[in-house]
Amino acid sequence: MLRLKNINTYYGKVHALKNVSLHLAEGEIVTLIGANGAGKTTILNTISGVTPAAGGELFFGKEAIIGHAADRVVSLGLSQVPEGRQVFKPLSVEDNLRLGAYLRYRRRESRADILRDMEQIFTLFPRLADRRRQLAGTMSGGEQQMLAIGRALMAKPRMLLLDEPSMGLAPLVVQEIFRVLQQLRREQGTTILLVEQNAKAALKLADRGYVLETGKVILEGAADELLENAEVKRAYLGKDKKEIWER
């Protein structure tokens, strides 16, 4: 469904992604783990067109999307939940969700359809339903994260890019959010690329994973294998295996 081959991305002169290659099959949940500054967010921004790649190949389905502006990528069915949630704080929950369907409104899709999808988001996250007219900025972090995911879903994406949905949230809320991600894959076959600091939770949810370090993929494999991998354990799961790491 998504394929990156030898992608290179720069921030000015900083070489942020170095020959990154990865792929996702349809319906897969794949996670990217790595330390701060490893390039996880940059990969998502490169895919979504927010930070365009300088070179390489980038395919979504059969379409080459390298150099596509962000709005064109969304229109193809690839939506991003940006880092730090970035809900529109001065706008109501409903208006945030309507913005998620911005391109559908522009395509003059039936309003009844869009409203029905909004109700579906409220079924998915009942906590949002109680807060329809509340301003997004006045909600808790967990609720804002739910809104950010709901907003991305309003575009009816075939694939979702999630940037650290667990950031700063209570473990119970993280569980709830991850449960919804599983449900999305099961019921709608949504393909999910998940960037996480919480490597353990992410690897438990995902089918496969990629480990990133300083802009390069250093390890990839099935999620359960990565969970058992000594280097991953040492570096990202907080289990001390110093002698292996510093060999």
Partner: protein, 319 residues
Amino acid sequence: MKKELLKFLLFSVLMLLVPLALHGSYLMNVLVFVGIHTMLAVALNLLLGYAGQISLGHAGFFGLGAYLSAILTTTFGFNPWLVMPLAAVVVGLIAFLVGFPILKLKGHYLAMATLGLGVIIYIIINETVDYTGGPSGLSGIPNLAVGTFVFNSDIRNYYLIWTAALAVILLAVNLTNSRVGRALRAIHDSEVAARVMGVNARLLKVQIFALSAIVSALAGSLYAHTMTFVSPASFGFNFSVELLTMVVIGGLGSIYGSFLGAALLTLLPEFLRSAQDFDIIIYGGVLMLMVMFMPGGLVRGVPELLKKMLGNRGGVGNA
């Protein structure tokens, strides 16, 4: 949306009835200016209050509209009604083209760039003496007329200007309550998030900048034809700051707030005649006080203040 329409109708009726009370008073003339300033403030508010992009050069667009109308009708004898949309389109086109590079900038840099744009327009108007008459201005601009009905009295101008102002308000209310309005507020809050929602932020910012310039140019044309005289002094940096003050005092992101701001800043000097030369100091002071004590502007600050006062008196309403 129905509520918005009702609000608009109420406001329109109110504005159309005002002359009944003030007919013949010199205030009618001032209210013509309130109308022109309302158009300008609403235009700037779309850009600043909704899309979150500052402009310190809007007096320039206003001036371009005024001078295009003045020169083409006076020197070249074109029909004013034809020139008006032409001037608006030309100014809109200029804003559109300049907008692409300028609106890549953010914050202070955008403020500086738009300031520069305003200054450039001012200097061009001031220096191309052959066409604009330079610092001494251009006079003898014809009034607008329909057949033999000439808009040459305060009351006629009042209805002319306010018809245009109400049209601008209706346009702005519609725009801000639509998909586009939501997208503008989204860009204001987080441009990246707006982009990943599928909003073409770069284009939309330029489009709203151009729309804002078009409305300003239209206000300029109407100004030229009602005043029948234009001079560069009306379109300088000071006036850009005055417009900004109107928008902030009225309330960022509130269309009717822009009317309040425009009304206050147009009427105030009339009552403070003796302080005329110090007006810019007063604007500055008012702006500072507003930002400190009523950051939401009059439309939000005054109801809050009333609530507080009523609450202190033993409490009606706000429990």
